[in-house]
C-alpha cells in the first residue's frame, strides 16, 4: 500500500492560507434558533396552535353563530345543543355559542391587557431597582414586599366599592394594582445578573452612558425572561377574572365572560351540565395552553440551552 503513493505527493506545501479564519457552520440567528427549539417541543407547539384557534374563534365566533350574544329567544330557553344553537341556549334563551366566544373576548382581553400592563409597570420598577441597586433597591423592594402581602380580593372589593363601578376597567385596575410585583421581582433579579456581566462593564469602560447601557444591553437580555413571565401571567389573570365574576364581583350582565357564564350555569348544572361544562372547559384549556406555551418559550429562549 505504501509503495503505491507517488513520490511527488511528498512535497511540502505548508498550511492552508487561513490567515483570516473562515466560519464553517451556517449562520444561525438568535430568533431562528429559538424558533427551531420551540418547534421541537411538540406539546408547546400544540398549545400554540390551540391558542391560535381559540383566538380566531374569540374574534370571529360571535359572528359565525348568526345570533347576537344579547338576543333573547324566550320560546327557546335552556335548549340543549342542536343544529340551530350549537352549544344550546341559556335560561333567557340566548345563544350560548355566541355568548361563549363573547365571554372569551372579555377573558382574553383581561388576560392579555392585565399581563401586559403589569409587566410594563413591573419591568420599569424592577429595572430601576436592579440597575441602581444599593439603597434605592432596598427601599423599592421593601415596598414590593408590602404590596405583595395584601390579599388581592380585599383590594378588588375595596376598589369596586370606592369607585362604585364593576366595569372591565375597574376589574383590570384592581387586578394589576398589585399584580406587577411578581414581574418586578423577576426583572430585578435578571437585571442584577446582566449588570454583573462583563459586557456591561466593558460598555462602562468605553464610556457609554447609563441609559444607553440599559437600552442596548440590559433590556434586550432581560426581554426573553419577561416574555416568558408574561405568558405565565396570562392564565393567572384569566383565572382571576373568572374567579371574581363567579363571585359576582366581575363582569355584569348582559355582558359576559367565561367566569360569569360558569357562575350563572352552576345553579342549574344538575339539569343542564353543558351550560357549565363549556365555559369551564374554555377556561381550563386556555390556562393550560398558556402555561405550556410559557414552558416551551422558556426552554427555547434560554441562552444556556444554545449549542
Amino acid at each position: 500500500m505504501q509503495e503505491e503513493i507517488s513520490k511527488e505527493l511528498f512535497q511540502i506545501i505548508g498550511p492552508e492560507d487561513n490567515e483570516a479564519e473562515k466560519i464553517a457552520r451556517p449562520r444561525v440567528s438568535y430568533l431562528r434558533d429559538a424558533w427551531r427549539r420551540f418547534r421541537q417541543n411538540k406539546v408547546a407547539t400544540l398549545a400554540l396552535i390551540i391558542l391560535g384557534i381559540l383566538a380566531f374563534m374569540v374574534i370571529f365566533g360571535p359572528a359565525i353563530s348568526g345570533y347576537s350574544f344579547e338576543e333573547m329567544d324566550t320560546t327557546n330557553r335552556n335548549a340543549p345543543p342542536s343544529r340551530e344553537h350549537w352549544f344550546g341556549t341559556d335560561k333567557l334563551g340566548r345563544d350560548l355559542f355566541a355568548r361563549v366566544w363573547q365571554g372569551g373576548r372579555v377573558s382574553m382581553i383581561i388576560g392579555l391587557v392585565g399581563a401586559f400592563v403589569s409587566s410594563f409597570v413591573g419591568c420599569i420598577y424592577g429595572g430601576i431597582s436592579g440597575y441602581f441597586g444599593g439603597r434605592v433597591d432596598d427601599i423599592m423592594m421593601r415596598i414590593v414586599e408590602v404590596l405583595i402581602s395584601v390579599p388581592y380580593l380585599i383590594v378588588v372589593i375595596l376598589l369596586s366599592v370606592v369607585l362604585k363601578s364593576k366595569s372591565l376597567g375597574t376589574l383590570l385596575l384592581a387586578m394589576t394594582i398589585t399584580g406587577w410585583c411578581g414581574i418586578a421581582r423577576i426583572v430585578r433579579g435578571q437585571v442584577l445578573q446582566v449588570k454583573s456581566q462583563e459586557y456591561v462593564l466593558a460598555a462602562q469602560a468605553l464610556g457609554v452612558k447609563p441609559w444607553k447601557i440599559i437600552l442596548r444591553h440590559v433590556i434586550p437580555n432581560v426581554l426573553s425572561v419577561v416574555i416568558v413571565a408574561i405568558t405565565f401571567d396570562i392564565p393567572g389573570y384569566i383565572f382571576g377574572e373568572a374567579f371574581l365574576s363567579f363571585l359576582g364581583l366581575g363582569i355584569q350582565p348582559p355582558n359576559t365572560s367565561w367566569g360569569a357564564l360558569a357562575a350563572t350555569a352552576q345553579s342549574m348544572y344538575a339539569f343542564y351540565p353543558y351550560q357549565l361544562f363549556i365555559p369551564a372547559l374554555m377556561i381550563a384549556l386556555t390556562m393550560l395552553c398558556f402555561t405550556l406555551l410559557g414552558d416551551g418559550l422558556r426552554d427555547a429562549l434560554d441562552p444556556r440551552q444554545r449549542k
Binding site: I5, L9, N18
Partner: protein, 343 residues
Amino acid sequence: MDKILEVKNLRVSFNTYVGEIRAVRGVSFELRRGETLAFVGESGCGKTVTAKSILRLLPPVSAEIKAGSEILYKGENVLQMGQKRLQRYRGNEVSMIFQDPMTSLNPTMTCGQQIVEALMLHKKLSKQEAKAEAIKTLELVKIPDPEKRFSAYPHELSGGMRQRVMIAIALSCQPSILIADEPTTALDVTIQAQIIDLLKELKEKLGTAIILVTHDLGVVATLADRIQVMYAGQIVETGTAREIFYEPQHPYTWALLSSVPGLAERSKQELYSLKGTPPDLIMPLECCPFAARCEYCMKVCRQQMPQVTNVTATHNVACWLQHPHAPKVKPFYERGLSHAQQA
C-alpha cells in the same frame, strides 16, 4: 506489566440538530497497572469524552458510542456490562475526579458522609467501619485534622481542600484506575502544586493507574509516565513522557510544546502560535486532521489519512512525515524560528 484497560477503536458521536459531531474517531490505547497515562490536547479534541466513555458517563440520549468500539477492563467489555455490574465497576474499580471541586461535591452532605456513602455501597462496610476508613482516607490525602473535617460541609472548605476531598472519595474504595479530568485547572498555582505533589505521592504509595486528562503540559511533565497527544478526536502521537517531550515527531506536538513559554526564555520574543482553529468535528475527515494548520503539510496529507508508524516500541505517530518518501524535517524550534514566524 500487564494491561488492565484496553480501548480499541473507540468512536463516539454526539447527535445534535446541526448534524452528527464525531467527537472521538477511532481511538485505541492501553493502560498498564500502576502507570500514569496523560491525554493531552486542546479543548474539543475528545480527551474528556474518551475518559468519560471509559466509565460510560456520557449523556445517554445525545451521545452514541459507535458499534465496533471496545473498552476492555481486565478483559471484560465495559460497553456490555449490565447496570449492576456497571455500578460495581464505577467507583469500586475505576473512579473519576473532576475539574471543578465546587460542583462535584454534594453541598448538603458533609465530606465524611460522602466518603462513607461510597464505602458502604461498594465495600459493604458497617457505618462504624466506614467512618474509620473514611478518616483514614482523609489522612491519606493529607487533610489536616481529618476527624474535624469529616463533619465539615463542602462550602466550609477551600478549593484545594475540596479537591482533596474529591480525591479521597475517589480513592476510598481503592480503585485500580483513577481518571483525573483536569484535576488542577481550577486551582491556584501554589494549591495546584500541592495537589500535583499529592497525586504523585499517592501514585507511588497505592500503585493506582491514573489517566490524567489535561491541557497543561507542565502538569503532564510532572506526573505522566506515558503521554497520548490528541487532536480532532484522534490520537496523533503516543509515547513515554521523555519521548514526547524530548523527541516529539508529530508537527502538532511540536506546536503544542513550543507554544508554552519556558521559564528560561527571553521575554517578548514571539511565541510559536498555530494559525487557525481545529477542524469542526461535524465535518467528515478523509485526510490528516492537522493538515490545514501544519507547516509541513504535504500533498498527500490532504488526500489520505496517515498511517500509524512505530518510531520505537513505545512511540507511535500518525503522520506522513514518517513515510520513507517524505523529506526529513526538523521541528522549527531546532532550526530557529520558521519562515512563517520570522515575518
